[in-house]
């Protein structure tokens, strides 16, 4: 999927589409899903009816008309915020849909190949794909190996390898085979493929309210009912006050004024923006190339407080690097470095290259051309478990240099009638204890020394973990290394805990233990053996490169297959919850100012003397121009603030990795205190404009 496309708020096409959609969303069936906005809509209808009856009975009021117009705008702005959030998802869905062409599938029926429509494929069917074929549906490679272009879903143009068995067997419908031939067993029913689900998710078509969203909706509806009570009882209290001040009942509050008061008090800001916040949270994940199977998962990500992280790829670079040469007795370090470099010149593995670089940096031994030395490179194989070179020295004598694990070199040297010194064995043991990998170098029948290969911890990862700790998240490193090695790396990376020699069962057990203690656990995995742990974890992110089993088990898929994604996913979850809380606080804090605008305005005549200005005008601390302009200003502010906050709802509040307390103080100052002050300024400004 292309994530680079312009999905900004000011994309013209999106904007107009959203404007159109916000009118379509006036459909009562859709509106009723959002109780707060539904109340506003009912108010708008009532006010409009009153305006029109006013026209026919000759008591037309332009004030009522303006109220009606702004109430409608309040509803439309709320609809617009939802429409624009959905629109951004739709744009992404459209680009996905282009890839889901009506392909033909080459189904294997027994041994006969038949051509059917991809959409007719059933779970369990077997299809053939060859160079140039689009893979018709999700499935698992059961035979062969192929390079596949997955740009359709990942946006990444570099092809990936998919092969039967192992952890890279899953293929996705809509991706394209670039070379070779594979047999695929279809694993999903039609209409439920990965791309189908992605489209549904980004479009928000199947969007269900998440648990926290439901709770928040209940709160907002509850507050609306409370304020509804306050407003419907007001005419009775007002009537009492009118008769007590000797004023006629005809001066009692009109329905448009009551509706205006109600709409200003109920939490329309958050009510209008709530679904936009939810949709855009999902959207932010998609922009990071992570697909969540439900909104619930995104929310849970914010709550995760234990992360299980694989050492390789997440914490370390995944490759070991040579950091030192330790020569054997009677050998100079230069001799060792020279031999080590020679044996690694054609070694394209990262370890091999790091040896060449170390020799060059430390001893200034320049790289040489292997073929000039008449040397042949002996690559590493699983059988020999060593690599090296065979070359002829200037006197024409053949030599063999080998580097490898101490066991492999030991048998190599014994075969050559050499001697394996005790001292070397001690060095090897010592290095292993430090968490390093010792690589023994031998030439012919003598041991030259040991290369110190070290796991390199990713730059900046320690700081990242410190940030996570500040946020209250504990990190656990998972590794197959022995406990000594694991401990050394854990200390260097600054993780809180580690699991050495971890089997999939260990992982599962660990997750259960943490959950029993009340923690929420997040993990990322790829292999089939990760599937149980992914399913057990509260947030299980499967790498897209992983097996189908892993992808089914997790509740998110990372299209980039990047293990550090887990941390970003947690951040997106937290940001989503923060945005909701911030705008709720803002919305509720707004009420203070609105009271000070509306109450003095509606009650100005009560107990008034001859000048018609009653004592409650003392509450008009904003010195608003007239009662009518005060009410109108409050209603206008209430509508406009929704549209002004749309960008914030879509982008989310700024997220920083800080402790809960620091985040709270910051957000409270901006959205709590700001929420009290902003409407005072806003309403006053609008009032000045109206009275110009």
């Amino acid at each position: 999927m292309s994530t680079k496309q312009n999905t900004g708020l000011f994309n013209k096409k999106l904007f107009f589409q959203a404007a159109k959609d916000s009118i379509a969303k006036l459909n009562p069936a859709l509106l009723s899903k959002n109780p707060v906005i539904f109340i506003v809509a009912i108010g708008s209808v009532l006010t409009t009816i009153i305006v029109f009856t006013g026209i026919f009975t000759g008591s037309f009021s332009s004030f009522n008309l303006q109220i009606a117009i702004w109430l409608w705008f309040t509803v439309l702005f709320a609809n617009f915020s939802e429409a624009i959030a959905e629109g951004r998802g739709k744009a992404q869905a459209d680009s996905l849909r282009k890839n889901r062409t009506q392909t033909k599938a080459r189904k294997l029926s027994g041994t006969v190949e038949i051509s059917i429509l991809a959409t007719d494929l059933k779970k369990g069917d077997i299809v053939i794909c060859e160079t140039g074929d689009i893979i018709p549906s999700d499935g698992e490679v059961i035979e062969g190996i192929a390079s596949v272009d997955e740009a359709a879903i990942t946006g990444e143009s570099a092809p990936v390898i998919r092969e039967s068995g192992g952890d890279r067997s899953a293929v996705t419908g809509g991706t394209k085979v670039l070379s070779d031939r594979i047999l695929i067993r279809i694993t999903t029913e039609p209409g439920n493929t990965f791309i189908d689900r992605m489209i549904a998710l980004v479009e928000g078509a199947k969007r269900q309210k998440t648990p926290n969203e439901i709770a928040l909706s209940i709160l907002l509806s509850g507050l609306s009912i409370i304020f509804l009570l306050a407003v419907v009882t007001l005419p009775a209290f007002f009537g009492y006050s009118l008769s007590a001040s000797g004023l006629p009942m005809s001066q009692n509050l009109t329905i448009p004024v009551l509706i205006a008061l109600l709409v200003c008090l109920i939490p329309t800001t958050i009510g209008g923006l709530l679904s936009a916040i939810g949709i855009s949270g999902m959207d932010r994940l998609i922009q990071r190339n992570v697909i969540a199977t439900s909104g619930r998962a995104v929310e849970a990500a914010g709550d995760v407080d234990v992360l299980l992280l694989d050492k390789t790829g997440t914490i370390t670079l995944g490759n070991r690097m040579a950091t030192d040469f330790i020569p054997s007795e009677g050998i100079t370090v230069e001799e060792l470095a020279d031999a080590a470099q020679l044996s690694s010149l054609s070694d394209e593995t990262p370890e091999g290259r790091s040896i060449v670089i170390l020799a060059k940096e430390k001893f200034n031994i320049r790289g040489r051309e292997v073929h000039q030395l008449n040397a042949t490179f002996i690559p590493f194989t699983a059988q020999t478990r060593m690599s090296g070179v065979d070359y002829k020295s200037e006197d024409g004598k053949p030599h063999q240099i080998r580097k490898g694990s101490s066991q492999a070199i030991q048998s190599f040297i014994l075969n050559n009638n050499g001697f394996y010194p005790q001292k070397i064995q001690e060095t090897v043991t010592e290095l292993a204890r430090q968490g390093a990998t010792p690589l023994v170098v031998a030439e012919d029948n003598r041991i030259l020394g040991v290369i110190h290969l070290k796991d390199i911890v990713k730059g900046g990862i320690k700081q990242r973990f410190a940030e996570l700790r500040k946020m209250g998240i504990r990190t656990v490193m998972i590794t197959g290394d022995n406990p000594l090695t694991a401990a050394a790396i854990a200390a260097e990376a600054g993780v809180d805990d580690f699991m050495a020699e971890a089997t999939p069962e260990d992982k599962l057990r660990r997750i259960r233990e943490e959950q029993a203690k009340g923690h929420l656990v997040g993990m990322i995995g790829d292999g089939t053996n990760d599937a149980p742990a992914l399913a057990q974890a509260d947030i299980g992110i499967a790498m897209n490169s992983g097996t189908q089993a892993a992808r089914e088990a997790g509740n998110m898929v990372d299209l980039d297959s990047n293990p550090t994604k887990l941390i970003e996913v947690v951040e997106v979850g937290k940001q989503l919850l923060m945005t909701r809380g911030a705008l709720t606080t803002f919305s509720i804090a707004n009420d203070v100012a609105k009271y000070f605008a509306i109450i003095p305005a509606i009650a100005i005549t009560l107990y008034s003397g001859k000048n018609g200005i009653g004592p409650l005008s003392a509450l008009n601390i904003m010195h608003l121009g007239s009662p009518q302009s005060a009410i109108l200003s409050a209603v206008i502010f209430n509508a406009i603030i929704i549209i002004l906050l749309v960008p914030l709802a879509l982008k989310g509040v700024r997220y920083r990795p800080v402790s809960a307390n620091t985040a709270l103080i910051r957000n409270l100052l901006i959205f709590g205190l700001g929420g009290i002050i902003a409407p005072f300024i806003g309403i006053k400004l609008i009032d000045i404009l109206i009275n110009l």
């Binding site: 648990p211 926290n212 709770a215 928040l216 209940i218 709160l219 509850g222 009912i225 409370i226 304020f227 009570l229 306050a230 407003v231 419907v232 009882t233 007001l234 009775a236 209290f237 007002f238 009492y240 006050s241 007590a244 001040s245 008061l261 914010g302 709550d303 407080d305 700790r469 500040k470 946020m471 209250g472 203690k517 009340g518 923690h519 929420l520 979850g573 937290k574 940001q575 919850l577 809380g581 911030a582 606080t585 509720i588 804090a589 009420d591 203070v592 109450i599 009650a603 009560l606 107990y607 009653g614 004592p615 409650l616 509450l619 402790s659 809960a660 307390n661 985040a663 709270l664 409270l668």
Partner: protein, 563 residues
């Protein structure tokens, strides 16, 4: 204000703070079933009680059974008090030969005392016999307070326990709070009060010659015992109509001081019990601090209003409706404390308070009686606001909201909203009803906004289970007896049932261990947040109504008009 006034206020709060951990710790032992010194005195009585009511004290129940027991117990209490009033003329201990009470007044009084409101639509000494006062009202004074404590204890268990559906045993909690907390404290307090001159006898009313030669009937009766529990149990229903302004109920400045302290004693100490039971006394002190700040704020406004110049009377402090024996400071401190704490006993006429002091009294009640509040009831009401605060602000730390490790989810929010909605519903709708019908308006004795304040105050008092009155309103009518009675029921059980439901649901949850990412509920920031939510969510609902009552009255008074 004199220096002595200020010293007295400081002494009052110092004693309150000092006694909170002492009594709080004792109650912790009582409700967790640990050993304590009162067991040797009343242990046999506790065991006997369980034998008689055939209850196994260790058998715990889920929230539904707990609620069912509670409601059945209260229903029986209501029916009993209702019936003995209807037939008091035929019952013993009626030396003044008082007639049977009207059915609606009996309904109102029965509901009132069962619900810990102790609103009195009648005048005690001219309406109820000693039998009704003792067997009906005093008993309810104890058990309605004990009911409130039981609900709170169940809620605390719901919060502090994990993955269980058991909340405890209602009968055990009820028995223990009565026998070990309310009874010993009341006995002690009654003795001290008798020493100060509060009457305690079964004599007939005495007729005496006054100095001017007129004859006056002096009511007698077992007052001290009822006054002790009316203060301690935040009941507030006076033995005499003048309540604690009556010299036989509240004879000396010392008795006055103690009676005020007694109002807040148990509600304050329960915050400590709360903290101890949830495993962090800091949590308890946080709640205590928030309550104290709100109380002192209200007190300051009231004192300012009472002492500042009144443009109508010139520059005299307002002495109308106050006992000259106590003066302004003691009257205002009492009015603030009694409304904050859902007590409702009075030592001055709230009707005569300056508009702002009246506003504070009313707002204290409208906020939901959570500033210390009724015994048990105040704290469980406060927890409702804590839940809302945690839910609204807790999201801002980027986690789904949790309180003391328990996730606050849709169910809790729903129940919390119901608990806040129930009293608001009564206050607003019933006041509106009363202010548009002849039945409601004909009871008014005052004109203008003050008359409206009287109506608003009456329904607030009922809904908040406070029981104090603005007076000036003749509430012993069919209309008021019924609507206020129903209001008290909604205000009581419309909160208790959701609270117990929350307790039941929270007990089932797992506890998330706290970390740096946890929203903290035990620091100054939270206190500030909690107070803001209480004022905005709890208070703004009533702002329009209040502006048409005490606020407008205050503004008018400043321009020289009085009602």
């Amino acid at each position: 204000m004199t220096t002595l006034d200020i010293i007295q206020i400081i002494l009052f709060f110092a004693l309150l703070i000092g006694l909170t951990p002492v009594l709080g710790n004792y109650m912790y032992k009582v409700f967790t079933g640990s050993k304590h010194f009162m067991m040797s005195a009343f242990g046999w009585l506790e065991k006997l009680t369980y034998k008689i009511i055939k209850v196994n004290p260790d058998e715990e129940t889920n929230w539904k059974s707990y609620t069912f027991s509670l409601i059945m117990f209260n229903l029986v209490g209501f029916v009993f008090v209702f019936l003995i009033q209807l037939f008091q003329a035929q019952l013993p201990l009626n030396p003044a030969n008082l007639p049977n009470v009207s059915w609606h007044s009996a309904f109102n009084t029965a509901v009132s005392f069962m619900s810990n409101t102790n609103w009195q639509g009648y005048a005690g000494e001219t309406t109820l016999s000693y039998f009704v006062q003792m067997m009906g009202l005093t008993v309810q004074n104890f058990v309605s307070a004990a009911t409130g404590i039981a609900v709170l204890i169940a809620l605390i268990r719901g919060i502090s326990r994990k993955t269980t559906d058991k909340l405890g045993n209602f009968w055990t909690d009820l028995t223990r709070s009565t026998l070990y907390v309310l009874l010993p404290l009341s006995i002690l307090f009654a003795i001290v009060l008798t020493g100060q001159g509060v009457v305690q006898n079964f004599n007939s009313y005495e007729t005496v010659q006054t100095i001017e030669g007129a004859s006056q009937v002096l009511p007698m009766g077992p007052a001290a015992s009822q006054i002790a529990i009316k203060q301690l149990g935040t009941n507030g229903g006076g033995f005499f109509n003048a309540n604690s302004a009556h010299p036989f109920e509240n004879p000396t400045p010392f008795s006055n001081f103690l009676e005020m302290l007694a109002i807040l004693l148990i509600p304050a100490a329960l915050t400590y019990t709360y903290g101890k039971m949830v495993g962090s006394t800091r949590q308890g002190w946080t709640i205590f601090t928030a309550m104290t700040i709100l109380l002192i704020a209200g007190l300051s406004i009231s004192l300012y209003a009472e002492y500042s110049a009144n443009p109508v009377f010139g520059h005299l402090p307002l002495m109308e409706g106050k006992e000259s024996r106590f003066g302004i400071t003691n009257s205002v401190l009492w009015s603030t404390v009694t409304t904050a704490a859902s007590n409702g006993s009075v030592n001055a006429m709230h009707d005569s308070l300056s508009p702002l002091a009246g506003l504070v009294a009313m707002l204290n009640i409208m906020l939901g009686e959570i500033i210390f509040g009724g015994v048990g009831a105040g704290l469980y009401g406060m927890v409702i606001f804590i839940i809302l605060t945690v839910f609204i602000a807790g999201l801002m730390v980027g986690r789904s909201p949790e309180y003391l490790g328990k996730k606050i989810e849709a169910f809790e929010v729903q129940m919390a909203i119901i608990a806040i909605l129930a009293p608001s519903f009564v206050i607003l709708l019933f006041s509106a009803w009363a202010s548009v019908t002849q039945a409601g308006l004909s009871s008014l004795n005052n004109a203008g906004p003050h008359g409206f304040s009287e109506i608003l105050y009456a329904y607030s008092s009922a809904a908040g289970n406070n029981g104090s009155a603005f007076a000036g309103l003749n509430a012993n009518t069919l209309f008021y007896n019924l609507t206020l009675g129903i209001g008290m029921l909604i205000g009581r059980f419309g909160v208790i049932i959701p609270v117990l439901a929350i307790a039941g649901n929270m007990a089932k949850k797992k506890v998330t261990p706290s970390s740096a990412g946890t929203f903290r509920t035990d620091n100054w920031l939270f206190i500030g947040l909690l107070i803001s939510v209480i004022l905005i969510v709890g208070g703004l609902t009533f702002f329009p109504a209040l502006s048409l009552g005490p606020i407008i009255e205050h503004l008018i008074m400043n321009s020289g008009i009085n009602f």
